[in-house]
């Protein structure tokens, strides 16, 4: 780097970001937690359980996943019918 380089913006050190992203991703993939295989099954079973108590539509279920280094967050969002719409049990 030139002397003036000290005063100008340094190029971004993006390799560090690349390494971290890969570590997180590959840790999940090697553990077989790549999502696609167990999530549809999980979703089906969750809906079955919930249906025992309230009626829910298949497409009123949203599943989101956020993978981080030390934990993953699985967010299951189930929209319940308005009280008036629900069949009387």
């Amino acid at each position: 780097m030139s002397v003036l380089g000290l005063f100008t913006r340094r190029p971004k050190r993006t390799a560090e970001a690349a390494r971290e992203r890969l570590q997180i991703l590959l840790a999940h993939e090697r553990a077989g937690l790549s999502g696609a295989d167990f999530l549809p099954q999980l979703q089906r079973e969750l809906i079955e359980v919930i249906r025992k108590y309230v009626s829910v539509e298949d497409d009123r279920v949203q599943v989101r996943l956020e993978r981080e280094q030390h934990l993953s967050v699985l967010e299951v969002n189930i929209e319940l019918p308005a009280p008036g719409d629900a069949p009387r049990v």
């Binding site: 780097m1 030139s2 003036l4 380089g5 100008t8 190029p11 971004k12 993006t14 390799a15 970001a17 690349a18 992203r21 997180i24 991703l25 993939e29 790549s34 999502g35 696609a36 295989d37 999530l39 549809p40 979703q43 298949d58 497409d59 279920v61 949203q62 599943v63 989101r64 996943l65 956020e66 993978r67 981080e68």
Partner: protein, 270 residues
């Protein structure tokens, strides 16, 4: 009306996914609702280049198999309002991609999106075939390098004979995107000139993307390179997007990576 565009090349590693990500983001930046689909079943990578790899829950194959609804598998980009990614499966093999399934999903996407960008896998097998089969237009990506140009030529032939449009007797519009172009090496006579490649392939030029350090930087952080507006590659992709949308922009040869005296004194890279 929705337009389905395949980004294809035959050869691997020429910049299909980089280009698919950049062009999709560029179309979204220009206000068009755009989805980019990864057709490389078993070797998912578009999610990494788009920076949404941690948010993949369902994929293209889940939707084809009916395990998930389309809107559950679409990942909304965090930066751009109009941009969505449909990732592929990392665990299945390419046989999971069925022609009926692809037709159905593309048909559904046509109802909602302005542009559907299909990121083709390398090769000419099922994934690559299905990525191009339902396309309205094709962008063929090539490097100025002999094997890449040869494979691009083969792909251009397949697009003209094996796509649905071809089967219906309609010619599929094709354009060429020349990537990793290094003006200095071209000037030294070490690399094929754009004119050479165009003469050989005889397809209109969509753009020339210069060899540029920003492409690796963008991939490191999972950002389409077009969002690096100051980079040479980012600017070249933005111009290519303009041409896709009908802007009258002559294709210019990008300036070389040669650094001027001032740049060298300031320690700046091109």
């Amino acid at each position: 009306m929705a337009k389905v565009i395949v980004i294809t090349s035959g050869k691997g590693g020429v910049g299909k996914t980089t280009s698919a990500a950049a062009l999709s983001a560029g179309l979204a930046l220009r206000g068009h609702k755009t989805v980019v689909i990864d057709f490389d079943v078993g070797l998912r990578n578009l999610d990494l280049i788009m920076g949404c790899e941690r948010r993949v829950v369902y994929d293209f194959i889940n939707v084809i198999n009916g395990d998930a609804k389309l809107h559950q598998a679409l990942i909304k980009d965090k930066r751009l309002e109009n941009l969505f990614v449909l990732p592929t499966s990392q665990t299945r093999d390419k046989e999971a991609l069925t022609q009926d399934g692809v037709e159905r999903v593309i048909g559904d996407l046509r109802q909602e999106f302005d542009f559907i960008i299909c990121d083709s896998p390398a090769g000419i097998e099922r994934g690559a075939f299905l990525a191009m089969y339902y396309a309205d237009e094709a962008i063929v990506v090539s490097n100025p390098e002999v094997s890449s140009v040869r494979d691009a030529d083969r792909m251009i032939g397949l697009l003209a004979s094996k796509s649905r449009l071809a089967e219906q007797g309609t010619e599929m519009p094709q354009t060429l995107l020349l990537t990793r172009y290094d003006v200095e090496r071209v000037e030294k006579g070490e690399m094929l000139k754009v004119e050479d490649v165009q003469d050989i392939l005889a397809v209109p030029l969509l753009g020339i993307i210069p060899e540029c350090p920003s492409v690796l930087q963008a991939s490191n952080i999972g950002t389409p390179v077009i969002l690096d507006e100051k980079s040479n590659a980012g600017r070249a992709y933005a111009e290519a997007v303009g041409r896709m949308l009908g802007d009258e922009l002559p294709v210019t040869v990008p300036r070389g990576a040669k650094r001027g005296l001032i740049d060298r004194l300031l320690g700046r890279s091109a």
